[in-house]
Point group: D2
Chain length 398, copies 4
């Protein structure tokens, strides 16, 4: 069977953002091409045309396809013959630019893979949702942690009832890199992520708590009801939160907690999820992603490893693996799993076949909206002394 069946050819990728100093641009490029199903073909890597072309060489993009702006790129690519034209646009800019690029790409008929948070604010997200709904494109949002095989394994176990009714969802995302006032030291990543004009209304809660909250939602499918949130800015002079904790009531009665930190010395990227159900409990940590602990009273603690061949590995888990057990897979492979799931739909679209547009395996525009709602309501709750505010957005999907 050929690549990207029924299309049987590689998909052509365009990257927006990702110039010198970018972290996530390179991630998108590696992840998208990891399985040899896509080839990076075009880019608007910088708004400065010269820098855009210079960066293109780093990525192996031909000069002719290195554009000085996303507008120029969309315009030029639209005019290319179908068998040369890009298939999808990956958006790896700072947050405040996501919306305009995504909207333009969708309106031009290109599939989109957009980094998270999806937009700068909720209004943009809701607007983008309408744009996507009115189009026929594939639209993915890179809540990349959902791509880990054991995260997908957990989701399938939970939706299949193996944990029983869900009572508690504890999530944490602990980092330490912003412990000091790095944004004043000309560190590009720190600068835009702590700048409310680029990052949005939240700092840690926009950048990382969204991931943690999303993981709990993805793994359990439980619908949120209300949230109470308390945000803190511990580093002097910083304009956005660098620490915070949210308590979440789910509609089924479950209680959730979500804590995010950027100021915990020495902590790297510690995303943890613990889920308690009436029949079993789970724990997973992103920094050791090839293991998950499943526990049931009266039984030994069971360590599920990423093992595509194990009888206890379900289809969702096994389908996300590239290697046998003991050969660790990690961040890039998980990120790539978001891409390849979207590729399946892009290939169907290109071949004129129908495909699911709401309940996709990969995070999509609905999840993007929900993420923005989470950020907005957490910030609002924190501003109102941790008041309980609604958290269930109309667009939330199981």
């Amino acid at each position: 069977m050929g690549i990207n069946a029924p299309l049987n050819r590689k998909l052509r990728m365009a990257l927006v953002g990702g110039g010198a100093g970018s972290f996530i641009g390179r991630v998108h490029s590696i992840a998208a091409c990891l399985d040899n199903r896509a080839v990076l073909t075009a880019g608007a890597l910088s708004s400065n045309p010269e820098r855009s072309k210079a960066s293109a060489a780093d990525y192996g993009i031909a000069d002719s396809r290195a554009y000085g702006s996303y507008e120029a790129m969309l315009d030029a690519e639209s005019k290319l013959p179908e068998d040369e034209r890009i298939d999808f646009v990956s958006i790896a800019t700072p947050n405040h630019l996501h919306f305009e690029v995504a909207r333009a790409a969708v309106e031009a008929g290109f599939n989109v893979v957009c980094d998270k948070p999806m937009t700068f604010d909720l209004a943009q997200a809701e607007s983008l949702l309408e744009t996507v709904k009115n189009s026929d494109v594939v639209f993915a949002v890179t809540h990349n942690y959902t791509g880990y095989p054991l995260v997908r394994q957990a989701r399938e176990m939970i939706l299949g009832g193996e944990l029983g009714e869900i009572n508690a969802i504890r999530t944490q995302y602990i980092q330490g890199w912003l412990r000091t006032n790095l944004e004043k030291e000309d560190q590009k990543q720190a600068a835009w992520r702590t700048d409310p004009t680029k990052s949005g209304a939240a700092g840690a809660f926009g950048d990382i708590a969204t991931h943690a909250y999303n993981l709990g939602r993805f793994m359990t499918g439980e619908m949120p009801d209300t949230v109470s949130c308390h945000l803190k800015t511990f580093v002097e002079g910083r304009k956005l939160d660098d620490y915070g904790t949210a308590v979440i009531r789910y509609q089924n009665g479950a209680l959730g907690t979500c804590t995010a930190s950027q100021i915990s010395h020495g902590r790297e990227n510690d995303v943890e999820v613990e889920i308690d159900g009436t029949k079993g409990s789970l724990k997973w940590r992103q920094e050791n992603p090839n293991e998950m602990i499943f526990r049931q009273n009266g039984k030994p603690h069971q360590i599920y490893t990423r093992d595509p061949n194990a009888p206890h590995t379900n289809a969702a888990g096994a389908g996300a693996c590239r290697l046998p057990a003991g050969h660790p897979e990690a961040f890039f492979e998980a990120f790539a799993n978001v891409y390849v799931a979207a590729f399946d739909d892009m290939a169907k679209r290109a071949a004129g076949e129908s495909f699911e547009r709401v309940n996709t395996v990969y995070p999509n525009v609905y999840d993007g909206v929900e993420g923005m709602y989470f950020i907005q309501q957490c910030v609002n709750s924190s501003n109102e002394n941790a008041a309980w505010l609604p958290l269930k957005h109309a667009a939330a999907r199981r």
Copy 2:
């Protein structure tokens, strides 16, 4: 140097509670005698005189010192010659009996080691505080986790400024044993701990969240300001909370979280503390108590093991060790550390020397009051939709 200098003899212990089916009575007896500084001499192990005597044989207590009630014991022991009479009373009954036993023992002039929570409610605790203040006895409360060498090491590091200003205190105490309705199956431990007439106003929050909260307080010395708490009862028909989470604002601006569960499948006794300061962060888990991770940006993660001979081990940590590194110490030894610290003061009292009565190494009646205040305010907050309530009790001590 002799045992219990300047007293130079073993201390005589009396145990109240601890008859058949008791867990904590045996713990007190082993912990108190572990270092050969005390000998279990008398007991009122059951309110049933026959059962009391039967249990005494298990403990090696002579029949003549096995009493049918604590009142009878205090009365009889008071009349014994000074060189036979008990020195202290350990209280290991269900919670609702702590107060009356403790008050009577103090009033009879005996030192007391009381299990936690110290009393049934705050009013009793405040009353007992006055009783103790008006006496000259040594009064310890077994927040036993404070006895772990690395917990004491952490406290000394933090009070000495090694972590800088404290920003965040995350604590968890996760168990799973009450996942099912064990209290209906004639399990003695489950029965009283879920019975509001014996356990008090809270379930999980009285039994275990108090420990977790106390650990954060002990390790950092930070004073609480307000609390918002959300309690849940997930097991049908249960009368007390079996899950909950509290958010705590400290007076210095730090943010705390404390989550407790009795319904997490397969989880045993997972007390975890994470503390973030401006200069470093710490993590400690009770289930692996001989390790603590100390992290600082730009340095490798540093695992401090329980090592009395290491240059980085401080006096508080080293003083709590009995064995060199790599020979693990655990629950009993930590529990015993609370006892031996109290013994030091008991020996001074018996020898007529003065001793500290407020800022002791071991948890004392002040901490007992604070624990009861924590329980009351958490329950009240939860009843008021997680409202923010004061958490700083006048008796709180650093």
Copy 3:
């Protein structure tokens, strides 16, 4: 039921060795008395009568029972009335004194608990075996790691066939404290343990490889056939091995490896055992003793925790626990488990009942002989360029 039934009284302990600077003397005293079944009554803590008496106060031994030599002690105690006289002698001297003390104690009719290695050399061990056989005393050797609940659990699982036929036994005992020439710095422990006139023919292999090898033997019951050993002395000027590795062929065809080190920087007391059988495999580490991993192809890795109430915990494992799961037990409790098993037999003997003298739960004189044979054959093999030498001693018992 009373203590030490059918005897129904505490056993009286005498300690030989254990004066100032001793590590293992204090361990014996705490372990023996931990369960309140023995009371330290007499001691010959030092060969210097004044120091012996001074040390006695530390241990709470009355002056009248503090002796200047073990001979004096055995003599005096033998003449005391039966209800005052000691029941057993614990030997915690340097290795070269074990034999004479043990023989004298046995010949005087006292039970003995002897530290390991049991004697200075094999000839002494074989001689002592005869002495013990000709007596009716209880004789235990403190291969204390056999007392860990999960080690006993493993033994029962393996002997019951749960791992199938045993193919491989990998053991390691890694320390780092003798990395430098500590014996030249007046460190008492280092001094005698590296001195061939006190420690015996081997250094690391006598002090710690014996433990590791014994654990493999204890857990599997497999009989050794031959050994090839390679010893090294890495620290200049040291007279005994501080590193080495042995390969062991077992009679059933299994292959064993045993590596011991005293020169591995930062390593504490890392005893590890991995056992492979045709039906399952096990791994246990002494530094985290409340966990054991049991693995079977096609199943999740199963973590057995020390849990006396779990359905998968067998009688041997549960019987060695004092606390429910999650309340860690450790070194002292394991050491105490060797003692209490011996106490059961001492009580029977004192009550005139019969008791098992070969296949005891606790390590005994047969195991002591086997340990000395292991040391001798490892040293001999190493001296002969790692030649294969017999390892099955006639006294070895399953």
Copy 4:
């Protein structure tokens, strides 16, 4: 800077082997292309022309470049214009075919990346070494574990003296997948790996012990002197070893141990290395590759994580990272690191620049020879009752 400077274009890859059922073919393809520096252009994926073409579609190889044999491929590619022709050949066939493919490719002037063990036997390896020496090609052997960032960090630390003189090197490679007679169940991987006509003289020792031994050599640079080895076949009817242990004497006096297993239930791919030096010790495990423990007496245990920005990360470690700390990298990225190091030299060669041919960062033909010598001497030693045999091959390089 462009890709593969000074060449500034992607390298064209040909894959030999890797048809349906192959594990390692897919690994080579993903790893080689991960960084967008190579594109898979041609293949001889199967010796059956039809199957070769069918497999080509899976890999996105054009039909015109899908060959029915490696001979046909080398012949046809040699005739293509320079700007179309392949740059290198990756060999992912069963072991017995490596030699002929590699020799032919080298002789045709193509660079080669060959899986390990490099050849079927030592004679082939030595012959191939001469062929490579007489050519000007880049020749890499995928001892892929050397590509892990922390392995390279360790090597640079050790060669720089941070561990002092090396005393001990303990390696293990433990698997369980061949616990049963899988080769009789038509499992392709098991079939050829246990077949002496395809795998070579050794089973576990050829397939995995070579990796473990190579890691110790790579990390320390220490030269071996002699080896004593004991191989076992535990699964009935199997023709090659599935378990074994080797003791290695290094020329500097260090002692090494290397144990490999394919029959340890539930064990996945557990490559562990522990190294003891006079100044420090290291431990690294492949299954958790983003951590390494560095220990020094008197200091806390130091966990080095894969952190390109940490001050304690050296150039070799940092240069092997693609992601900041806490975003785990794993097997593919390590494998890719072997490739990109070879690409640097391929680019130089293509641009007519000189490049190092012996002491390369990536494992090369010299290491391939040494690996074959290790296998041969281990098998011979085992056949001679674990006799000590020479292990230093003349081609061994530091």
